[in-house]
Subunit: 118 residues, 2 copies
Protein backbone atom coordinates (compact mmCIF):
# COMPACT_ATOMS: atom_id res chain seq x y z
CA UNK A 1 0.00 0.00 0.00
CA UNK A 2 1.58 3.30 -1.06
CA UNK A 3 1.35 6.44 1.13
CA UNK A 4 -1.31 7.79 -1.25
CA UNK A 5 -3.36 4.59 -1.03
CA UNK A 6 -3.07 4.68 2.75
CA UNK A 7 -4.24 8.32 2.76
CA UNK A 8 -7.20 7.51 0.48
CA UNK A 9 -8.22 4.58 2.67
CA UNK A 10 -8.04 6.55 5.94
CA UNK A 11 -9.86 9.43 4.23
CA UNK A 12 -12.64 7.10 3.09
CA UNK A 13 -13.11 5.96 6.70
CA UNK A 14 -13.48 9.58 7.90
CA UNK A 15 -17.24 9.51 7.29
CA UNK A 16 -19.89 7.79 9.44
CA UNK A 17 -22.11 6.76 6.48
CA UNK A 18 -19.16 5.14 4.70
CA UNK A 19 -18.16 3.32 7.88
CA UNK A 20 -21.76 2.11 8.28
CA UNK A 21 -21.74 0.88 4.66
CA UNK A 22 -18.54 -1.10 5.30
CA UNK A 23 -20.03 -2.56 8.48
CA UNK A 24 -23.09 -3.62 6.46
CA UNK A 25 -20.93 -5.25 3.78
CA UNK A 26 -19.32 -7.55 6.37
CA UNK A 27 -22.67 -9.43 6.19
CA UNK A 28 -22.32 -10.02 2.45
CA UNK A 29 -22.47 -8.27 -0.94
CA UNK A 30 -25.24 -5.67 -1.28
CA UNK A 31 -26.91 -3.59 -4.01
CA UNK A 32 -27.10 0.20 -3.83
CA UNK A 33 -30.82 -0.06 -3.00
CA UNK A 34 -30.10 -2.45 -0.13
CA UNK A 35 -27.33 -0.23 1.17
CA UNK A 36 -29.49 2.90 0.94
CA UNK A 37 -32.43 1.43 2.88
CA UNK A 38 -31.22 2.06 6.46
CA UNK A 39 -30.05 5.61 5.72
CA UNK A 40 -31.89 8.89 5.38
CA UNK A 41 -29.82 9.70 2.32
CA UNK A 42 -30.70 9.26 -1.36
CA UNK A 43 -29.40 6.42 -3.55
CA UNK A 44 -27.27 8.89 -5.56
CA UNK A 45 -25.66 10.04 -2.28
CA UNK A 46 -24.97 6.40 -1.36
CA UNK A 47 -23.55 5.87 -4.88
CA UNK A 48 -21.13 8.74 -4.32
CA UNK A 49 -20.01 7.18 -1.03
CA UNK A 50 -19.54 3.84 -2.80
CA UNK A 51 -17.37 5.57 -5.42
CA UNK A 52 -15.13 6.96 -2.67
CA UNK A 53 -14.90 3.53 -1.04
CA UNK A 54 -14.14 1.92 -4.40
CA UNK A 55 -11.52 4.57 -5.23
CA UNK A 56 -9.84 3.84 -1.90
CA UNK A 57 -9.82 0.10 -2.69
CA UNK A 58 -12.00 -0.72 0.33
CA UNK A 59 -14.74 -2.22 -1.85
CA UNK A 60 -15.05 -3.63 -5.35
CA UNK A 61 -18.18 -3.61 -7.49
CA UNK A 62 -19.62 -6.12 -9.90
CA UNK A 63 -22.83 -6.61 -11.87
CA UNK A 64 -25.49 -9.24 -11.19
CA UNK A 65 -28.19 -8.92 -13.84
CA UNK A 66 -29.27 -5.26 -13.63
CA UNK A 67 -28.02 -4.76 -10.08
CA UNK A 68 -24.59 -3.53 -9.12
CA UNK A 69 -23.18 -5.37 -6.12
CA UNK A 70 -20.70 -3.91 -3.66
CA UNK A 71 -18.18 -6.26 -2.11
CA UNK A 72 -15.94 -5.57 0.87
CA UNK A 73 -12.21 -5.89 0.21
CA UNK A 74 -10.45 -7.25 3.27
CA UNK A 75 -6.81 -6.60 2.38
CA UNK A 76 -6.71 -2.78 2.60
CA UNK A 77 -8.52 -2.76 5.96
CA UNK A 78 -6.05 -5.37 7.14
CA UNK A 79 -3.18 -3.11 6.08
CA UNK A 80 -4.69 -0.12 7.88
CA UNK A 81 -5.05 -2.23 11.00
CA UNK A 82 -1.44 -3.38 10.64
CA UNK A 83 -0.28 0.24 10.25
CA UNK A 84 -2.06 1.30 13.43
CA UNK A 85 -1.06 -1.80 15.34
CA UNK A 86 2.60 -1.37 14.39
CA UNK A 87 2.64 2.07 15.95
CA UNK A 88 0.71 0.97 18.96
CA UNK A 89 2.96 -1.98 19.52
CA UNK A 90 5.92 0.34 19.91
CA UNK A 91 4.64 2.36 22.82
CA UNK A 92 2.44 -0.32 24.37
CA UNK A 93 5.46 -2.55 24.66
CA UNK A 94 7.79 0.10 25.99
CA UNK A 95 5.22 1.39 28.46
CA UNK A 96 4.23 -2.09 29.59
CA UNK A 97 7.84 -3.03 30.18
CA UNK A 98 8.54 0.20 32.01
CA UNK A 99 5.35 -0.31 34.04
CA UNK A 100 6.41 -3.76 35.06
CA UNK A 101 9.91 -2.60 35.91
CA UNK A 102 8.70 0.32 38.03
CA UNK A 103 6.13 -1.87 39.75
CA UNK A 104 8.81 -4.41 40.55
CA UNK A 105 11.11 -1.70 41.91
CA UNK A 106 8.35 -0.22 44.03
CA UNK A 107 6.79 -3.53 44.98
CA UNK A 108 3.45 -2.48 43.48
CA UNK A 109 1.24 -4.17 40.87
CA UNK A 110 1.50 -2.57 37.40
CA UNK A 111 -2.15 -1.70 36.83
CA UNK A 112 -1.71 2.04 36.28
CA UNK A 113 -0.32 3.41 33.04
CA UNK A 114 3.13 4.85 33.52
CA UNK A 115 2.83 8.62 33.87
CA UNK A 116 5.61 10.47 32.16
CA UNK A 117 7.95 13.11 33.58
CA UNK A 118 5.54 14.83 35.92
CA UNK B 1 -15.35 7.63 20.93
CA UNK B 2 -18.32 9.25 19.17
CA UNK B 3 -18.88 8.91 15.40
CA UNK B 4 -17.59 12.47 14.97
CA UNK B 5 -14.44 11.75 16.97
CA UNK B 6 -13.87 8.59 14.94
CA UNK B 7 -14.28 10.60 11.71
CA UNK B 8 -11.87 13.29 12.92
CA UNK B 9 -9.28 10.69 13.89
CA UNK B 10 -9.48 8.80 10.57
CA UNK B 11 -9.41 12.13 8.74
CA UNK B 12 -6.27 13.18 10.61
CA UNK B 13 -4.57 9.95 9.48
CA UNK B 14 -5.41 10.67 5.83
CA UNK B 15 -2.20 12.64 5.34
CA UNK B 16 1.34 11.23 4.98
CA UNK B 17 3.03 14.08 6.88
CA UNK B 18 0.68 13.68 9.83
CA UNK B 19 1.26 9.91 9.85
CA UNK B 20 5.03 10.54 9.78
CA UNK B 21 4.67 12.95 12.71
CA UNK B 22 2.78 10.30 14.72
CA UNK B 23 5.43 7.72 13.87
CA UNK B 24 8.11 10.14 15.09
CA UNK B 25 6.24 10.77 18.34
CA UNK B 26 6.35 7.06 19.21
CA UNK B 27 10.02 7.78 20.05
CA UNK B 28 9.07 10.44 22.60
CA UNK B 29 7.73 13.98 22.95
CA UNK B 30 9.06 16.46 20.40
CA UNK B 31 9.07 20.23 19.79
CA UNK B 32 7.74 21.74 16.56
CA UNK B 33 11.33 22.46 15.47
CA UNK B 34 12.32 18.81 16.03
CA UNK B 35 9.25 17.57 14.17
CA UNK B 36 9.85 19.95 11.24
CA UNK B 37 13.49 18.94 10.73
CA UNK B 38 13.00 15.80 8.58
CA UNK B 39 10.34 17.42 6.36
CA UNK B 40 10.57 19.82 3.48
CA UNK B 41 7.71 21.83 4.93
CA UNK B 42 7.84 24.97 7.06
CA UNK B 43 7.33 25.05 10.83
CA UNK B 44 3.97 26.86 10.37
CA UNK B 45 2.85 24.03 8.08
CA UNK B 46 3.91 21.48 10.70
CA UNK B 47 2.07 23.54 13.34
CA UNK B 48 -1.10 23.32 11.28
CA UNK B 49 -0.72 19.55 11.03
CA UNK B 50 -0.20 19.40 14.81
CA UNK B 51 -3.41 21.38 15.31
CA UNK B 52 -5.32 18.82 13.22
CA UNK B 53 -3.78 15.94 15.21
CA UNK B 54 -4.58 17.71 18.50
CA UNK B 55 -8.16 18.44 17.39
CA UNK B 56 -8.57 14.75 16.58
CA UNK B 57 -7.27 13.81 20.03
CA UNK B 58 -4.31 11.89 18.59
CA UNK B 59 -1.77 14.13 20.33
CA UNK B 60 -1.73 16.49 23.28
CA UNK B 61 0.53 19.50 23.67
CA UNK B 62 2.27 21.01 26.68
CA UNK B 63 4.85 23.71 27.36
CA UNK B 64 8.42 23.13 28.54
CA UNK B 65 10.08 26.54 29.04
CA UNK B 66 9.60 28.31 25.69
CA UNK B 67 9.11 25.11 23.70
CA UNK B 68 5.77 23.47 23.00
CA UNK B 69 5.98 19.70 23.21
CA UNK B 70 3.77 17.29 21.28
CA UNK B 71 2.85 14.03 22.97
CA UNK B 72 1.27 10.99 21.33
CA UNK B 73 -2.06 9.87 22.81
CA UNK B 74 -2.34 6.10 22.61
CA UNK B 75 -6.03 5.62 23.45
CA UNK B 76 -7.65 7.04 20.27
CA UNK B 77 -5.31 5.03 18.03
CA UNK B 78 -6.19 1.97 20.09
CA UNK B 79 -9.90 2.65 19.47
CA UNK B 80 -9.35 3.07 15.72
CA UNK B 81 -7.47 -0.22 15.64
CA UNK B 82 -10.25 -1.88 17.62
CA UNK B 83 -12.84 -0.51 15.16
CA UNK B 84 -10.96 -1.92 12.19
CA UNK B 85 -10.20 -5.21 13.91
CA UNK B 86 -13.87 -5.68 14.86
CA UNK B 87 -14.85 -5.48 11.20
CA UNK B 88 -12.04 -7.70 10.12
CA UNK B 89 -13.25 -10.37 12.47
CA UNK B 90 -16.09 -11.25 10.10
CA UNK B 91 -13.91 -12.24 7.22
CA UNK B 92 -10.45 -12.84 8.62
CA UNK B 93 -9.52 -16.44 8.08
CA UNK B 94 -6.68 -16.55 10.56
CA UNK B 95 -8.81 -16.06 13.63
CA UNK B 96 -5.89 -16.86 15.90
CA UNK B 97 -3.90 -13.93 14.57
CA UNK B 98 -6.81 -11.58 15.20
CA UNK B 99 -7.19 -13.01 18.66
CA UNK B 100 -3.57 -12.26 19.39
CA UNK B 101 -3.94 -8.75 17.98
CA UNK B 102 -7.00 -7.97 20.08
CA UNK B 103 -5.33 -9.39 23.14
CA UNK B 104 -2.32 -7.19 22.48
CA UNK B 105 -4.58 -4.15 22.05
CA UNK B 106 -6.24 -4.83 25.36
CA UNK B 107 -2.88 -5.32 27.03
CA UNK B 108 -3.72 -8.90 27.91
CA UNK B 109 -1.71 -11.96 27.05
CA UNK B 110 -3.30 -14.00 24.25
CA UNK B 111 -4.64 -17.42 25.11
CA UNK B 112 -1.54 -19.48 25.27
CA UNK B 113 -0.91 -23.01 26.44
CA UNK B 114 1.63 -21.80 28.96
CA UNK B 115 1.57 -19.25 31.74
CA UNK B 116 4.01 -16.39 31.82
CA UNK B 117 3.84 -16.21 35.59
CA UNK B 118 7.05 -17.17 37.34
Amino acid sequence: MTPNELSAAFGALADPTRRAILARLTEGDRTVAELSAPFKVSQPAISRHLKVLEGAGLISRSRRATARLSHLEADPLRELTAWLAAHQEYWDESYDRLDALLAALQGKPADEPFSRDE
